[in-house]
Symmetry: C2
Subunit: 567 residues, 2 copies
């Protein structure tokens, strides 16, 4: 389908195209493609391959993955996958989907380290990971890729300057401007400005904070605010943050030292990141902390405990501390808990639950609503304006955001004087060059799910069935027939997720059996001989009978055994 | 259990007690009780009887109701139920639970009208509703109740001054201070101050905004801000708000008139409230608007459409408009949508979905984050301080809030000089008088669910089963045995919510059948003769076999038919 333009032109034309398989219209699940060449023989470069988390309509799902059908069909022309940074929404799908692509991966040392650390925990896949240095320049097929160091909430965020015969694309990844990011290099504004002078055809840019005015504070401001809050605390202090925010971990460790507290770390994810950060030089090799088992022997005034669980995850350290069920860490009256994080939309209730449990223990809670204890890793409006001013692209493609963010970002880009601005949705393929840019095709896109150990499709699959089960429950009916259609043995019923009694105390199972008996009696034996006809008749009558008393029709499964050798 | 104090005193003692069956520790589901008399023969007064909405762990549930076991056991000593205002979290459980209490209800005309309007739609129950006038004083059993007009986001919010031989309790309900509430009377500050002069033993008070500094703006400020925004709009304007906010409906209608737009109303809930508000004089009898069917014939510049759906409810008018699936109302490029509301925690994703769909249609969206288009109906910190200053109670009981709100409110009450402050949880019974106040008992509390047409228990009931089904799906297996334990006919399997194939393409049903066959072969026929033993063996092997390939154990139902007459 990529071999033909929507206007049906069959003549091959050399061009540079862009399409998102995820990341336009929903936060997370980033997966972008650049294509180079004539429509019928393009070479592809993938940027990022992330997951997102399931919503309430996707029960039982572990993670949501982009549907890569489009690129799987031409995996042989995929030159490589470049990862901009190590957040799950940018690399999380590699573990499940790389085997379908098998293209070489390019990543900086920290990102590669995080990926390897994840791969070590999962099924055994061995992607080729090419470690590239910060700010490095390398070829991926015909794409000439140069990394540009940005700032974000994880080490080594790298924008990509992708040079092609049709011009340069600047793909920002997640970014902000920060000259004092606490760890790693500051945003390489000089290189961005030089790229602008060289000329940029298209800017594909983070939209997350398109609604927020001004500039984001620096990581260093958060560190000093945290230190002051911890300084004032009289008893135990617990702090939770995104584990991958190594600068924040460093700020917390520094604050512990400055306030003469011992740093205790609770939660597996924290340990893993600290290890990768030490391996890659973002935390000193002398970085030291106490295991959570040491917590109980420390005086309240002497402890600063860093916990996983800033999103209210029920099995993470902080949730268990808040429920007073953590094996090692206990908090109580007058202790302080700092949420050095923001609540990701959808997690509000889970986070509130943890905070309420902490309140019941007598803890004081400080969040980013109360003090500067967290800072965004994404550009606010003034930062976006600076970027447009530096790069002066001909084309702007807002990415990383829901539809309303992309729309607002498009408005900012137009106001900054960009002549060609496209607020796209996933799957819309746009020709970036030659000018003028325009939507030329539509790639198939969608979601799939990691469901236990299997990858399952969206649509009419098990996830949708479970959503239905969660609303109406299930009734199973077993019937035994002879070949002649005679009933052998009594019908058997099992229910699950359906109330056991009607409101006048009649057992639901009996009600179902009555419905089955009624249907069997009213179905002529000639028709009973066809199990499909009988199955459907019983299914309907059971659902109708339950609906009568419950107001809802359960899923009904009718299992018919036809006995052999008696017909 | 109410007949004995925790310290075991058996001597009857006249006292005034308070206990919440809902409303302390979670937003919504308000249900409070005051008890008067000796522990073994108390007379009770109930204040409010509300619902809350189910969370993601309560799939398929329509509404969450308080468990009233405690008061159902002594319903004969329940003198009455006073409703403070007509919001669902204060009156929504009457329709389901009143039949278990059968006590007379007391409410002001608008609240009574809303209740009757709801009752007319549901099952036929006919509670005795005593209409009391605003600011009225009446006896409910031994309780001398006086209404005090407050301000809130619905007409006729009434606090209760409950006079008893042990002193007066001031129970605020939901409230704020507003001298220009746009409809109805302003907050009756003079009466509150007079009650303070008379002396108040206990203040039981709204905690919703305990974390918010300052005072809340007036409804009149919102009206003028809305009018200005609508004035500037060049094309269609749609506005959504809580239907029950009659003052807001009035403000919208006034803005329509002032900007020469025709008011169109879309959504059933809006029509119902407008009718009750007209019946009770809160909207003029001449209040006029166009039905949604008129929308299409109006010029874009001439229309202001008021829609239900501010919380992203998928079936409400605005969600359908945003999906471009509304039969009458269509919006497009350059139209403006105002969310004159706040997003209730838990609804963030649903609201964002609607806003994203509107962005895709090309609409501009204004929310309470962008402009003064909504105002809270609850007291901020300065309002709480004024209330404590006016009433100077001996005892403060923070209510209406999650644990962290109650804790923060308790801090404010202590700072205001209240000597006895209790941040309670549902079920903790506190003696308010005689002094000193203290927790003396624990009432059983909990949740129950309206599930379709039935009321079902929390705990090990159908809702919990459905939660499990939503995670792991179900496998049903039918087996037929002779009395001797011989297998008759082939086993039959049905699956739902479980992936259909393993990752090497093997059908899950075949995998289950293999497991069943293996179990049947390995179970000696003597043991097969006991269906319970066989059922359990098959159940285990099926779950284990599926787990092996899927990583999750489904619910397994094994239905065994034992054939008659062949043993």
């Amino acid at each position: 389908m990529a071999g033909r333009t929507t206007d049906g032109r069959a003549t091959a034309r050399e061009e540079l195209v862009f399409v998102a398989l995820g990341g336009l219209g929903e936060i997370g699940m980033n997966a972008y493609l650049y294509g180079l060449g004539a429509p019928d023989r393009r070479q592809w470069l993938m940027v990022d391959l992330g997951i997102t988390f399931p919503g309430p309509n996707e029960p039982g799902v572990d993670v949501v993955l982009p549907d890569l059908k489009f690129i799987e069909d031409e995996a042989s022309s995929l030159a490589g996958i470049v990862l901009t940074h190590a957040h799950e929404d940018h690399i999380g799908a590699v573990i499940d989907l790389w085997p379908r692509l098998k293209a070489p991966i390019y990543a900086t040392p920290f990102t590669a380290g995080m990926l390897r650390s994840k791969l070590a925990e999962g099924p055994r896949i061995k992607p080729q990971i090419n470690e590239v240095k910060l700010g490095g320049r390398f070829k991926v097929g015909s794409f000439d890729v140069e990394l540009v160091t940005m700032a974000h909430s994880i080490p080594e965020p790298s924008a990509l300057a992708i040079r092609t015969p049709h011009g340069t694309v600047f793909h920002t990844g997640d970014w902000k401007l920060d000259q004092t990011p606490l760890i790693g290099d500051p945003t390489d504004e000089a290189k961005i400005q030089a790229l602008g002078a060289e000329g940029v055809a298209a800017l594909v840019c983070d939209s997350t904070n398109a609604f927020r005015d001004g500039r984001s504070p620096s990581e260093v401001d958060v560190a000093s605010s945290l230190a002051k809050i911890i300084e004032r605390a009289k008893r135990r202090v617990a702090i939770t943050t995104f584990a991958s925010n190594v600068a924040r971990l460093r700020a917390v460790a520094d604050a512990a030292k400055a306030t003469n507290r011992r740093l205790v770390v609770a939660g597996r994810a924290m340990h893993r990141i600290i290890q990768v950060a030490m391996d890659t030089g973002y935390l000193p090799e002398t970085f030291s902390y106490l295991d959570q088992r040491e917590f109980s022997r420390l005086e309240p005034r002497d402890v600063l405990v860093l916990c996983t669980g800033s999103q209210g995850e029920p099995r993470a350290a902080l949730a268990r501390v808040a429920e007073d069920e953590h094996p090692d860490v206990q908090l109580g009256q007058g202790d302080l808990v700092i949420f050095s994080s923001r609540t990701i939309p959808g997690n509000e209730k889970a986070v509130a639950r943890v905070q309420n449990n902490l309140a019941l223990l007598g803890c004081d809670v400080v969040t980013d609503g109360d003090a500067l204890v967290h800072v965004t890793g994404h550009p606010r409006r003034e930062e976006l304006k600076l970027m447009y001013g530096w790069l002066k692209p001909r084309v702007a493609i807002p990415m990383h955001g829901e539809a309303r963010h992309l729309r607002e970002h498009a408005r900012i880009a137009r106001a900054a004087g960009v002549p060609e601005v496209h607020a796209l949705t996933d799957g819309q393929m746009v020709r970036l060059a030659p000018a003028p840019s325009m939507v030329i095709d539509e790639a198939p896109v969608g979601r799939q799910f990691r469901d236990g150990r299997l990858i399952v499709a969206d649509g009419d699959g098990p996830v949708r069935q479970r959503r239905k089960l969660s609303a109406v429950g299930v009734v199973a009916v077993a019937l035994v027939l002879t070949r002649k259609g005679e009933i052998a043995g009594d019908p058997v019923v099992a229910i699950d997720g359906v109330p056991e009694e009607t409101d006048d105390g009649y057992a639901m199972e009996d009600l179902v059996l009555d419905a089955v008996d009624g249907t069997l009696r009213s179905t002529p034996s000639a028709r009973r001989r066809d199990p499909n006809v009988l199955r459907e008749a019983v299914r309907r009558s059971v659902r109708a009978a339950v609906e009568q008393v419950w107001g809802k029709k359960p899923i009904a499964k009718v299992l018919i055994t036809v006995l052999d050798g008696r017909g």
